[in-house]
């Protein structure tokens, strides 16, 4: 399983370390442990193959949106 890596925080400069650790701690409660456990049952190659399928699917989706916008 692969989730979409969207961020709720700004991709800006370095955060101050204490604030950074606080944010990490806060995000821990949102981690989907079910997905991680499912991934841990796969081999490394299966995990990377799954990532590649995700990349391909996202690319297909992007192209579909691009085409739809042109119409």
């Amino acid at each position: 399983m692969t989730s979409v890596a969207h961020s709720t925080t700004r991709d800006s400069a370095k955060a101050d370390p204490e604030e950074f650790e606080r944010l990490v701690k806060e995000c821990r409660k949102d981690v989907d442990l079910g997905m991680l456990r499912a991934n841990l049952r796969l081999t490394v190659e299966e995990r990377l193959t799954q990532l590649q399928s995700y990349i391909s699917a996202m690319e297909e989706f992007r192209q579909a949106v691009r085409t739809a916008k042109r119409k």
Binding site: T2, A5, T9, K14, F20, D30, V44, L48
Partner: protein
Amino acid sequence: MTNIPALIQMLAECGVEFIVIGGVAGVAHGAARGTFDLDVVYRRTQENIERLAKCLSSYSPYLRNAPPNLPFKFDPPTIRSGLNFTLDTDLGALDLLGEVAGGGSYDDLVPHSIQTRVFGHSCLCVGLKKLIQLKMSAGRRKDVEAIAELEALLEESDRNRE
């Protein structure tokens, strides 16, 4: 579109000494967050730099997001005079790092890496603990959620080993 298996195969078949880091390393360890590029730390020896340049020469390496038609040539002198390269290639986005914040060079990272076999090739992937350290050292806000996931993954992996 980035072809992660093909990029790994290409580097391995050319005998390039490299360590997979970043999002792909996270996925290799079991993270669920997707990524769209391959980040590797390459060894900066003369031989490896030559292998890297020769290897990529057939895949049109070019600086990502740079204006077109720059006189950029990814050859040994360019690699020697630079350090980290963010490239687009025919196989997709490839970030080649001579050094990484919090991890140092290839030789510094080897003891913190694991040998894994993927797509018919053996390659080095940075260990999960070190990967977390690298992301912490980078201190980028965009990595906050990824670090939280990697820490949870480390706990799960440790629990599975018990």
